[in-house]
């Protein structure tokens, strides 16, 4: 048995000297490292996930000290070595002792199976809690390890705690950010729904209460006009609900796209038919280029896109001038556009009109543009197509979407 294995007895300066010599030899052989901690902190700033951080720490520590190390971090209620040097493969004893160091908040040493070789564990503590344990293997107990080496090991443990704390805090901040964003979207959705439901309901209730007032005598055309308005608003409310359902299906990923070749003329006809009384006496001009082929699409969903775009155009443009629906083939894709001569959308708002719950500055009494357009984008994306909004000169807006003509494999 070797003298050095007797704990507390080995205080000879000779051993410490030997370690220092070993280290300085290593330094002269390898990369000179006047301040390994400085190097480490610089490396750590570039790491933002735990495995990278632990690997960097292990590398710098073994190259600075020549000692193998292992870093223990609890996962759930189990403690394990999340990263270790090849020469330090932690066994159950090591895990128990790493746990002991965490519980006591103090360093723990344990003789290994190899004579005079000890596993040392330094708890990874922060001001608030203990994140794990930093372990390394060295000859001799703590007292026989030179002060400078021990201090270095403690500094590594400190840096490990700081780096882990930083990542955890960043993760929490990100999570809080995501929650805040989800909360904001949810609030926006509720506001949008409330707005979009109340607006048509206001006209419906308004009309019904007007008709209820026996003392008001209304001429037949005015009466009819009021009833038409209420009916159209009720139908708009129903379309809104359809959009909401589609949105939730899109987001839940349960919307199945079933593509087969469809007649574009049939598509436009079905959309106009579905809008029914909303089109009313409005002029809708349909132009279909003669070379438009049958195009693979999910007919029902693309009808929905067209209904939303047309509904939008009807809502935001004056009654007089016509709305144009145009279909043509442009460099291998089908393009369908809906143009109106309304007030148009501000140039700055154009890229954002497909974002959810954005009313593109059009807002106001007619409301609800955001939901329909964001669904259009979701549906067109699912078809691998594109959708865009442009200003139309001299006035109005063009909404155009494209669909690939070839079935992609």
């Amino acid at each position: 048995m070797n003298n050095a294995s007797r704990v507390g007895l080995a205080t000879g300066a000779g051993v410490a000297g030997a370690v220092l010599i070993a280290r300085s030899r290593m330094e002269s052989r390898g990369q000179p490292s006047p301040d390994p901690i400085y190097d480490l902190t610089r490396t750590l700033t570039r790491c933002d996930v735990i495995p990278d951080i632990l690997a960097a720490i292990e590398r710098s520590f073994t190259s600075a000290t020549g000692f193998p190390c292992a870093i223990f971090i609890p996962e759930g209620d189990r403690l394990s070595a999340r990263h270790h040097s090849p020469r330090f493969d932690p066994d159950d004893n090591d895990i128990v002792n790493a746990g002991l160091s965490m519980k006591s908040g103090r360093p723990v040493a344990q003789l290994t199976g190899t004579p005079d070789l000890y596993s040392h564990f330094i708890p990874l503590t922060t001001s608030r809690d203990t994140l794990g344990s930093f372990g390394f293997r060295a000859r001799g107990t703590r007292r026989r390890i030179p002060r400078r080496m021990w201090a270095l090991a403690e500094s590594f443990a400190n840096q490990t705690s700081l780096a882990l704390l930083r990542v955890t805090l960043e993760g929490k901040a990100r999570h809080a950010g995501i929650l805040a964003e989800a909360h904001r979207l949810q609030k926006a959705l509720l506001n949008s729904i409330a707005h979009n439901v109340r607006t048509p309901l206001a006209s419906i209730i308004g009309v019904l209460s007007t008709l209820q007032q026996e003392e008001i005598s209304l001429s037949h055309p005015i009466r009819q006009d009021l009833i038409d308005t209420a009916r159209q608003e009720a139908e708009r409310l129903n379309r809104l609900l359809g959009n909401l359902l589609d949105l939730s299906r899109l987001e839940a990923g349960v919307l199945r796209i079933r593509k087969d070749p469809c007649d574009v003329q049939d598509l436009i006809g079905a959309a106009l038919e579905q809008l029914g009384s909303a089109v009313g006496h409005r002029r809708v001009e349909v132009k279909i280029a003669p070379d438009v082929p049958f195009v693979p699409m999910d007919f029902v969903l693309i009808v929905q896109v067209l209904v939303n775009l047309l509904d939008n155009a009807l809502k935001y443009s004056p009654v007089g001038p016509s709305i144009t629906v145009e279909a043509r083939v442009l460099s291998g894709v089908l393009e369908i556009s809906v143009s109106d001569s309304g007030n148009g959308i501000a140039e700055d708002d154009l890229p954002h009109v497909f974002e959810r719950f954005n009313r593109g500055g059009r807002g106001g009494a007619t409301g609800g543009i955001g939901l329909g357009l964001s669904i259009c984008r979701g549906l067109i994306d699912a078809h691998h197509g594109t959708i865009r909004a442009e200003r139309r000169y001299p006035c109005g807006t063009v909404f155009a979407f494209t669909l690939p003509i070839q079935l992609e494999r």
Partner: protein
């Protein structure tokens, strides 16, 4: 004419009672699927207006059970707007499908045409709607008294539609009737091409068809009103 309205919503029954009575229909009511199944053989209504979401049975099962012994016209009223629900109900034997909310005028039109189909002698040789005239015996199709040349497939397709005017025929139904096939993918394409051609020959504005109407995701309907 006696209409059996099957719906568990009191409000809907009340509003149908008012609007159907004003058109001279006699109203029978049932609030559950079981009541409906018991009422049909006893009260012998002329038509059933059936909600799909009943508290005890699904409307599609009620339709199937009724179809085991009777051809009574069945018009579905439902809040379910998914195409698969419509196709399911029509394939189970329903005559028509209307999504809630609906307008009374629309419902009355569907009831009328369902009754007309049920009471019409099976083989009328000549079909007329608007400026469309089809002589099934002589295989002559005319639009505004102008003879229209159809290919044999186009004619068969038109004939299938004419045999059930105003009724939504599912894609599957039409494919079976015209091509006799079951290879859905290929024949779906043929169906669309032939519908497109028919419209070009029959409709004055094929983009806003007056006769051959698309029921998106479900099928086609020959509109006569």
């Amino acid at each position: 004419m006696r209409v059996l309205v099957v719906d568990d919503e009191h409000g809907i029954r009340k509003f149908l009672r008012t609007s159907l009575a004003s058109q001279g229909y006699e109203l029978l009511e049932a609030a559950t699927g079981q009541e409906a199944l018991e009422s049909v053989p006893v009260n012998r209504p002329d038509i059933v207006v059936l909600d799909l979401g009943l508290p005890d049975l699904d409307g599609i099962d009620v339709t199937r059970t009724l179809r085991e012994w009777t051809d009574i016209p069945i018009v579905i009223l439902s809040v379910r707007d998914q195409e698969s629900d419509k196709v399911g109900a029509l394939d189970a034997g329903a005559d028509d499908y209307l999504t809630k909310p609906f307008g009374v005028a629309e419902l009355l039109a569907r009831i009328r045409s369902a009754l007309r189909r049920a009471n019409k002698p099976a083989n009328t040789a000549v079909f007329e709607a608007g400026d469309l005239n089809i002589d099934l015996a002589k295989r002559i199709v005319q639009v505004s008294r102008q003879k229209v040349q159809l290919t044999p497939t186009e004619y068969d397709l038109l004939k299938a539609l004419v045999r059930h005017p105003d009724r939504v025929l599912t894609h599957r139904h039409l494919i079976r009737e015209v091509w006799g096939g079951t290879c859905y993918e290929d024949e779906m394409h043929l169906l669309r091409v032939n519908i497109s051609n028919l419209r070009r020959k029959l409709e004055s504005d094929p983009t806003r068809p007056r006769y051959v109407v698309t029921e998106a995701g479900v099928g086609y309907r020959l509109r006569t009103e």
